[in-house]
Subunit: 272 residues, 2 copies
């Protein structure tokens, strides 16, 4: 999915919600847990309940890999079930030496039909660049993550410029990709940092995890994070997927997604 | 495999070689390429040809993921074929928020029976710590990688200490793991940096890629990198796996591994 289609979808649906699919057997409603295809059945129900309310889905690979070899097949079937009308983000946080990153790009863009992949920047340019050059596909580079450990290295000031490491990542990566094929991960748990991010990267889309279970506020991040194209995909995973542990899990997931989408629509109205 | 067993194996085999299994269909000898189980058959032949010459195997997940869902099954069958007498390193470069890293740990240590996993440090403590606490299992944290892009962020001086980022990673991670469950990746393409590494981490094992196809020198890295327990696992992948593109690929792989093991034996003799 290219940038202009994504922007059009955001304004059409009045939503910049990305629904995470971090599906864990132990957290499924009891009536599903014993089914042979429990994870896939749960994913399909969550997808059906939220399709019109979100523009992106983001399965996190860890949850599928934890299922063993079968997990990749469930992941792929989930991607196929989503179809072509949403941006599908493989939350995989990959990154390796050049010839190896190229293999990851083929895995996620070609074999698995994903639109985007999250990539870790630690190994530098030649670990990130092989992911570019697939038309309509996106690199979503970790810049400032939502977790507590993000302060350990990402927020450390660098000698050369006095900038924090994540600012250097934002700046350097703009030499490698463009707003048409590069987004950044910026966690909602650092609302004050969005102004810094937009100073360096005014046009790029930001993928923002950390609202919901991790406690970040939608209003706070939108205040300084949005641009004229919206420029944000805000993801929520656990708060939607596990809104109810009962038989009504899909309705509860829809209600939670609708709450977020309604807030997003109000924010988008102020934008235009 | 625990630390004392690993050290014993190194001195028994007179080898600290780790054979990478970065298997790519397009690079296989032609007579194998059309077989239905080509990748697995190739891996088995490489393993059989090198078992007595190495102490570790390191399949890189990218090459298996690029095969689609079936790739994880080939990866798992490869791990099972290696058996219990070698350290099996999943070169996966994972790392995510805490609850997600825990899923990756379960995937690689429990479902996939690996002994070690490479982990990227960018997301900090809570992205790394969930990989600890599995008895006999190892985190191998990226510190200074072998690729060109390693200079982009890893070698940047940090304000607080004047240390380079990889030195801060080495130092901070010692608060999270011990020499019994934590190794570091340090690329052979930075031979001059091994002195810096050993100043900060004298006891930890180092996993050293970058000899062979990437051009690093075994003698140069051993001079400053070894400690009294050897303390190094030096990996070679392409130079062994693809030593010959013909029907004699396994013999050629063995000859290449033997050349490295012979050099290692000479270096180990000087150590004791």
């Amino acid at each position: 999915m290219d940038r202009s289609t994504l922007i059009a979808e955001i304004f059409r649906k009045q939503s910049f919600l990305c629904v995470g699919l971090d599906t864990e057997l132990a957290k499924l409603p009891e009536h599903l847990r014993s089914q042979p295809d429990a994870i896939l059945a749960f994913n399909k129900a969550i997808i059906d309940a939220t399709r019109d309310l979100c523009v992106a889905y983001k399965p996190n690979l860890a949850f599928y890999e934890a299922l063993g070899p079968e997990g990749w097949s469930i992941f792929h079937q989930t991607v196929q079930y989503i179809g072509k009308e949403h941006l599908i983000i493989a939350d995989a946080k990959r990154g390796d030496i050049g010839n190896t990153s190229r293999m990851y790009a083929e895995a996620f863009f070609q074999k698995m039909d994903c639109d985007a992949i999250t990539v870790a920047p630690y190994m530098g340019e030649d670990s990130v660049s092989p992911f570019f050059g697939f038309p309509g596909k996106w690199v979503i580079l970790l810049a400032l993550t939502s977790n507590k450990g993000s302060v350990d290295f990402q927020r450390q000031p660098q000698n050369a410029s006095g900038e924090e490491l994540f600012e250097v990542v934002l700046r350097r990566a703009q030499e490698w990709g463009t707003p048409e094929n590069l987004m950044y991960v910026v966690g909602a748990t650092h609302p004050e940092a969005f102004r810094q991010v937009r100073r360096i990267a005014p046009d790029h889309f930001l993928l923002v995890p950390g609202i919901g279970a991790q406690g970040g506020s939608l209003a706070a991040i939108c205040e300084h994070g949005m641009n004229a194209d919206c420029g944000m995909l805000v993801s929520a995973s656990r708060s939607i997927q596990y809104a109810s542990a009962g038989a009504d899990f899909a309705e509860a997931a829809r209600a939670e997604a609708l709450k977020i989408q309604t807030a997003m629509a109000a924010i988008l109205k102020r934008l235009v």
